[in-house]
């Protein structure tokens, strides 16, 4: 979900020129994929091409907004696009996706029960899982020895962690995690509830050393902070350098995101798109993708094909009991309240 723009630009131009060149002569089977930059394993595409003889062209974007804008413009002939969970309902509502009836796919049974029938796409009519991750916080157990099971550790920290804390600088993620800690719904548009969020964050602020969404695992690894809000993949990287770093799954719940394979309404090669989706539902194939992107997938049995350090990493394998909370796209009113909390916090 968090990707860089720099890699995207040259690749897009390359793909465009390739597409232009391939245009009229294309008699062979083709598939056009539009995915986040740096988010598609080249090995998995090569394997797909070899097994099916379908030629794949990959183009990349940097945000859901970019994807939405391009699909709304209506002139992008992609066969597979990979929106995040919160943008799926918007695209369905705007008629930008076509039904794929995933339960009819031969490998549908491989999807973990937990990820079938998700709240953003009941009955998997339009989507199947691609990669998913969580947003929580990590703490250095060399500095703090107590229990690491609650979000209260982050928001009302003990003395040894005060002044030693890093938080994200993105209001949507901070307010979402604070809402989970308070047991409030996501995208709450009740001013009274947001007042509680504001009080929680204002109370925490004197103990926070830095608000930044960049260089997080580096800061934790360097010992610059002893606790930091972090994505699960980044926490794994911090632990690789400093083994005492622990990623926390709070009992109140953990904020999660899921990117999904979907087929746009304007797709030209629908049959090939479905072949690709079915291909990616095989554990041995999605595992190649996980090994590349360092994110979890939603396919049963893929564990066996993961690289050992990824397979055993608690960051990538949350306990089965953990409650995942997916944030939808918030209403204008909820965004306004969130913005007000943020401005008051930093004015």
């Amino acid at each position: 979900m968090k990707k860089t723009l720099t890699a995207a630009l040259p690749l897009s131009f390359l793909t465009l020129s390739l597409m232009a060149a391939a245009g009229p002569a294309a008699a062979a089977e083709e598939l056009f994929i539009y995915n986040w930059s740096d988010y598609t394993a080249p090995e998995v595409l090569a394997k797909f091409e070899k097994e099916t003889g379908i030629k794949v062209t990959l183009d990349v974007y940097d945000s859901n907004e970019t994807l939405l804008a391009k699909m709304k413009a209506g002139n992008a002939a992609y066969d597979i696009v990979v929106p995040s969970h919160n943008f799926v309902p918007i695209m369905i509502k705007d008629g930008l996706l076509q039904p794929i009836d995933a339960p009819k796919l031969s490998n549908y049974a491989n999807i973990d029960e937990k990820w079938r029938n998700p709240e953003w796409d009941p009955g998997n009519r339009y989507t199947v899982p691609w990669m998913w991750g969580t947003t929580s916080f990590a703490v250095d157990t060399a500095v703090y020895k107590g229990p690491t099971d609650s979000a209260s550790l982050l928001f009302t920290p003990p003395p040894e962690l005060r002044g030693n804390i890093g938080m994200f600088k993105t209001p949507e993620e901070v307010v979402a995690v604070a809402s989970i800690a308070l047991g409030l719904p996501q995208c709450d548009d009740n001013p009274k509830d947001l007042k509680k969020v504001e009080e929680l964050l204002a109370g925490q602020k004197p103990a926070v050393k830095i608000y930044s969404s960049e260089g997080i695992h580096e800061r934790l690894a360097a010992g610059e902070v002893a606790m930091h809000m972090i994505w699960n993949g980044a926490a794994k990287r911090a632990r690789d350098v400093r083994p005492t770093i622990t990623y926390v799954y709070p009992k109140e719940g953990v904020l999660a995101f899921m990117d999904n394979l979907t087929v746009p309404k304007t797709a030209k090669n629908v049959k090939n798109a479905l072949t690709f989706i079915d291909f990616m539902l095989k554990p041995e194939n999605i595992a190649i993708q996980s090994n590349f992107a360092r994110y979890s997938n939603g396919i049963k049995g893929s564990q066996a094909f993961l690289s050992p350090d990824l397979r055993d990493a608690p960051e990538i394998n949350p306990p089965a009991t953990v409650k995942t909370v997916f944030q939808p796209v918030c209403s204008d009113q909820a965004v306004k309240l969130r913005d007000r909390v943020w401005t008051r916090l930093f004015q």
Partner: protein, 294 residues
């Protein structure tokens, strides 16, 4: 070709550059600031003055307006920090420029060359290097603790002091170079004359040197103050994001707040402040020139 047409053709590139690079983006910005925000970023093409109302007032759920000083507080912080950074840069830059201007000519060239060396490296990299130097586990604190001068790391990074330091470090050359240009032209015999007439060193500085280098001083101050006002990198990397600045506030409107019109309105307010600074200083210079004329 008539002389008139030749003139038009001659200034065409200038007009084109001003038009494409300045007028068009500013018209877009002004237009966006007067439209309604779209839910997923961007604007809806309906007229709305909401962005400007939001600068000073908070609209409650029942549509009533209440005065909200949040954005003015943020704006004031940016103005204060930019002003402080300019003052410090002046205090640091003047002796440096004076020193260079009083060296023999061949040394001057070398010294000016040295001043420009930092520009060869990207600003982001230079600022990030200061993060590595100033942080708790960084160079300064390691040396201080290693030599036994301190037993706790000094809190250097993520403070307002760090922001000021970053701004002064970044923009000092913009102060030194115009000051040097003025000082280089200064006839130092005037200073000698002042001293001969029993003027003290401070008096000579105040009554002889400063009035003569005023154009360079004003130019340097503007060159430092204006970019400091909209600075993004130093507050973000060295300040730890604990307080919003006008630049970070604008960035927020175009990302998670999804309020492009308000972001455009804030950018225009910033622009207006810069224009005001320039107009005031131009007026003062014109007055000084008129006074010096008789």
């Amino acid at each position: 070709m008539t002389p008139h047409r030749a003139t038009l053709l001659g200034i065409a590139p200038t007009l084109l550059i001003i038009g494409v690079l300045m007028v068009v983006p500013m018209v877009i910005m002004a237009a966006y600031s007067l439209m309604e925000a779209n839910s997923f970023g961007g604007v809806l093409p309906h007229f709305s003055a909401e962005a400007y109302i939001k600068l000073l007032f908070d609209r409650d759920l029942d549509d009533s307006l209440a005065f909200d000083p949040s954005y003015m507080i943020i704006l004031w912080r940016s103005l204060r920090i930019a002003g402080l950074a300019t003052a410090i840069t002046l205090c640091v830059g003047f002796p440096v420029a004076y020193f260079i201007a009083t060296r023999p000519p061949e040394q001057r060239t070398l010294l000016i060359f040295l001043i420009t060396i930092p520009f060869w490296t990207n600003l982001l990299i230079r600022t990030y290097s200061w993060v590595l130097i100033l942080r708790d586990t960084g160079m300064i604190n390691t040396v201080l603790q290693g030599s036994g001068l301190t037993d706790q790391p000094l809190k250097l990074l993520y403070t307002e002091g760090a922001i000021l330091f970053g701004l002064v470090y970044t923009y000092a050359p913009f102060m030194v170079l115009p000051l040097y240009t003025s000082l280089e032209k200064l006839d130092f015999r005037l200073v000698e004359a002042a001293r001969d007439l029993y003027c003290g060193p401070w008096g000579a500085l105040r009554h002889v040197v400063l009035p003569l280098v005023m154009p360079g001083l004003v130019a340097g101050s503007i060159l430092v103050f204006v970019p400091c006002l909209g600075a993004f990198v130093a507050p973000d990397l060295l300040g730890g994001g604990k307080e919003l600045m006008i630049s970070t506030l604008i960035q927020l409107q175009f990302t998670s707040s999804r309020n492009w019109p308000f972001g455009a309105a804030l950018a225009l307010v910033l622009l207006a402040l810069v224009m005001l600074t320039l107009t005031v200083s131009a007026a003062r210079q014109a007055r000084a020139a008129a006074e010096g004329g008789h």
